[in-house]
């Protein structure tokens, strides 16, 4: 039946596509399990003859401070998201629900800032941080990302859908505007905030450009930097441990993604619906 054939064809194409998309991950893990001899073996095989898992992963964690890199990843993304939430939520609420002169101008500024790719402020920011002696510090890595205009935009869109009566009731109960943001708006916005958190987490964990410019010390390196460092330092001789390091660094994201697929994809879709 034509239908069946068509369905089979579609699934085949999708499976081949999925295989292509997943191939690098599979190869990454596969190499991380192999001893040096097998990595460059002429025969291609998925699983190693000789399991080198322990050696590769230990090497990864000892030759470079991989654990430190991963820890830095968590520190940096956590601090960034915290600051983003602390600054974005109040402004989003003010833009969505409060009336004040210059509100439209502020919103126009937000939209304007959305147009600016993150690499544009790099040179002046670098100069400014240099003068403040903040280069090569956690603060230096974190500061430029503390403002998320996208977050403000997204939360504002969401807050606009909250019924005004809810806020009026809160005011009558005696809550000040500041309290309203955290005790009324935040709980209703949790799904949107979760989506934003996921986006912020992926984006900042993977961010390379700015940390690349700002960080010199090994001890401060974020995961992507650490991997690049490892790759340069070992210069193509120890692929096994390098892939082990790559796996270790990618794992938190992929695992988080698999568990929170809905929130991730919702966040990404919302970034689209401007």
């Amino acid at each position: 039946m034509v239908n069946r054939l068509g369905l089979l064809l579609r699934h085949s194409v999708l499976i081949i596509g999925a295989a292509v998309m997943l191939a690098p991950f599979i190869i990454m893990v596969s190499i991380s399990l192999k001893p040096p001899g097998e990595v460059f073996a002429p025969q291609f095989s998925l699983l190693p003859q000789q399991w080198y898992v322990v050696e590769n992963y230990t090497a990864a964690f000892t030759r470079v401070p991989l654990a430190r890199f991963i820890l830095n990843g968590f520190i940096v993304t956590f601090c960034i998201f915290l600051m983003q939430a602390l600054t974005a939520l109040p402004m989003a609420y003010a833009l969505a629900k409060l009336h004040f002169r210059g509100r439209e101008t502020c919103f126009a500024l937000v939209v304007l800032a959305l147009l600016i790719p993150p690499q544009v402020p790099a040179i002046p920011l670098y100069i400014a941080l240099w003068q403040l002696d903040l280069l090569n510090t956690y603060a230096g890595i974190i500061l430029p990302s503390t403002i998320s205009v996208f977050g403000i935009f997204m939360m504002r869109q969401f807050f606009r859908t909250v019924p005004n009566d809810l806020i009026a009731a809160a005011r009558m109960d005696g809550l000040g505007e500041f309290a309203i943001v955290w005790r009324i708006m935040l709980p209703t916005a949790l799904p949107a905030l979760a989506a934003f958190a996921c986006l912020s987490f992926i984006w900042n964990w993977n961010e390379f450009f700015w940390p690349f410019l700002v960080v010199q010390d090994e001890a401060l390196m974020t995961p992507p930097l650490g991997i690049a460092f490892f790759s340069n330092a070992e210069a193509g001789t120890s692929f096994g441990p390098l892939m082990a390091a790559a796996t270790a660094v990618t794992a938190p994201l992929v695992l988080a993604f698999l568990f929170a697929q809905r929130a991730f994809i919702e966040g990404v879709t919302m970034s689209g619906i401007k």
């Binding site: 190869i27 002429p42 600016i116 993977n206 790759s231 993604f257």
Partner: protein, 300 residues
């Protein structure tokens, strides 16, 4: 409504709250984004190098130098080739993936996750895997191509193929994003349009695509193209770690040149000029997108 003393007091309190709540974000916005954007434009009009004691206003001298700079033009050309190929490829494959996944009833979650995982992963780590895959002898790609009779090459070392290798990596990473955005657009299409088509006598894939899917995806298409183009313009990591602009400057791209000039060579004002060019391109893309969408809603 007459303004009583208390109501204008309320207004003032509300306005004050509005300012106070927005203040931290506004300060950061100016400090981290808008201010530096303005600075970069101003900086590009000086001759300041990093660490110098004084600066001089030189107007458009830096841009003049860019105009004559062979490396800049190579960089711009490479970037435009990169964007010009990866955007259609990403959008086409993303749309295809979205249509295929929406058309099957089993395994959707798996396919969706498989196609999207590259977007979430650390590009750098995966780029290194790709580097290994591109290895001339033991790399997966050459082994596969050799086995099925396709031509092989030293993908990353050959000036003729290096840029395309990077394009492949870029498409691989962004495809999932395009796909997800298209899927959102597809689910927004009302199902009864397809049913009306069926009643009107069109129930094959081509007519359905042509008469309902494609026209309804118009806005999504414009958006995906713009987003993908802007992301492609920002290509940097793969160049910085895999090829460093080579071989023979075949993978020199705009942001890489900017970082070279502005940070490695410490020519801050020159780097700023390149940044401004970069900004002009990305802003133009966004404006084009907005205009295209406006036209669609008014005349569509």
């Amino acid at each position: 409504m007459r303004k009583t003393p208390s109501s204008s007091g309320l207004r003032r309190a509300e306005a004050l709250a509005g300012y106070m709540l927005s203040l931290p974000a506004l300060i950061l916005m100016w400090a981290m984004l808008l201010g530096p954007a303005v600075s970069v434009i101003l900086l590009s009009l000086t001759d300041w190098n990093f660490g110098e004691a004084s600066l001089r206003w030189v107007g458009l001298e830096n841009y003049g130098e860019l105009w004559a700079d062979r490396v800049f033009w190579i960089s711009l050309k490479n970037t435009i080739i990169y964007v010009g190929i990866s955007v259609p490829a990403t959008v086409f494959l993303g749309l295809l993936a979205a249509l295929l996944i929406e058309s099957v009833s089993h395994g959707r979650a798996f396919y969706r996750a498989a196609f999207f995982v590259p977007v979430a992963s650390t590009l750098l780590a995966m780029a290194l895997v790709w580097e290994f895959m591109f290895h001339p002898t033991v790399g997966f790609i050459n082994q596969l191509f050799g086995a099925i009779g396709l031509p092989t090459a030293d993908w990353l070392q050959n000036p003729g193929t290096a840029l395309f290798a990077l394009i492949a990596i870029g498409v691989w990473q962004n495809l999932g994003l395009a796909m997800i955005l298209f899927m959102a657009g597809l689910t927004a299409i009302p199902k009864d349009l397809y049913e009306a088509l069926a009643m009107d006598g069109a129930d094959d894939a081509w007519e359905r695509f042509r008469r309902v899917t494609w026209p309804m995806l118009g806005p999504s298409l414009v958006f995906v193209v713009a987003i993908t183009a802007i992301r492609s313009f920002q290509v940097f990591e793969t160049v910085a770690v895999l090829t460093e602009g080579g071989p023979s400057k075949s993978t020199e791209v705009l942001l890489y040149t900017m970082v070279q000039q502005g940070f490695t060579f410490l020519r801050s004002s020159y780097g700023a000029a390149i940044t401004v060019i970069f900004l002009i391109f990305t802003v133009s893309l966004t404006l084009l997108q907005t205009v295209a969408l406006e036209r669609r809603t008014h005349y569509g």
